[in-house]
Amino acid sequence: MSDARTEALRNAPLDSWVALSADETRVVAVGTTYEEVSTALDRMGDTDSVILKTPAAWLPMAL
């Protein structure tokens, strides 16, 4: 599952909001804002996906 999640995120747009399927293997919605992704999930009747924000680059994070 972790490899599929990593690959799904690697192929997702950067600096965006994305929703991952409940099994974390697929990106099911993408948007430039949280609201866009949440609205897309509403339209799909999806209540299980979890939302995250992708960074501008996939570098090791030190905040």
């Binding site: 995120l9 949440s38 979890v50 939302i51 995250l52 924000k53 905040l63």
Partner: protein, 138 residues
């Protein structure tokens, strides 16, 4: 409750592990977000969320208390609001900062989060993970 670390891409096709956990937040109106991933960050003084989440809370971010947070990239303007945090079956009331420049959805820091849990980071196990145990102070 144990949460396996979540994976994220790293440079050169590598995979990195981070202590992201699913949370939900609500504002004064009662409106709340869906579940999103927030980073458990012992280095953060308090909890910080991306301003994009504020739309779900019907929150006018800049009506909050203005402040500044320092990070590795320098200082960042934030606005502080009272919120409700839903995490691991617990409901917490706290003041959280909202930032336009936070590069992820949320950070769970010491004030408002770590003060309510005994948190064990276990990066050596397979899979790596963290354990949250709610503590109630007298």
């Amino acid at each position: 409750m144990r949460f396996p670390y979540r994976t994220a891409p790293g440079p050169g096709g590598t995979t990195l592990y981070y202590p992201f956990i699913p949370v939900r937040i609500a504002g004064f109106s009662g409106a709340s977000t869906r579940y999103f991933e927030a980073l458990v960050d012992s280095g953060a003084a308090d909890c910080i969320f991306q301003t994009s989440l504020a739309s779900a809370l019907r929150l006018d971010v800049q009506s909050g208390i203005p402040s500044v947070r320092a990070g590795i990239g320098g200082g960042s303007e934030v606005w502080v609001h009272p919120i409700t945090l839903f995490v691991a079956g617990h409901v917490l009331q706290l003041n959280a900062a909202f930032s336009d420049t936070l590069p992820l959805a949320g950070l769970l820091g010491r004030s408002g989060f770590f003060e309510y849990f005994r948190i064990t980071f276990d990066p050596a196990s397979a899979p790596p993970g963290l354990e949250l145990e709610r503590v109630h102070k007298a």
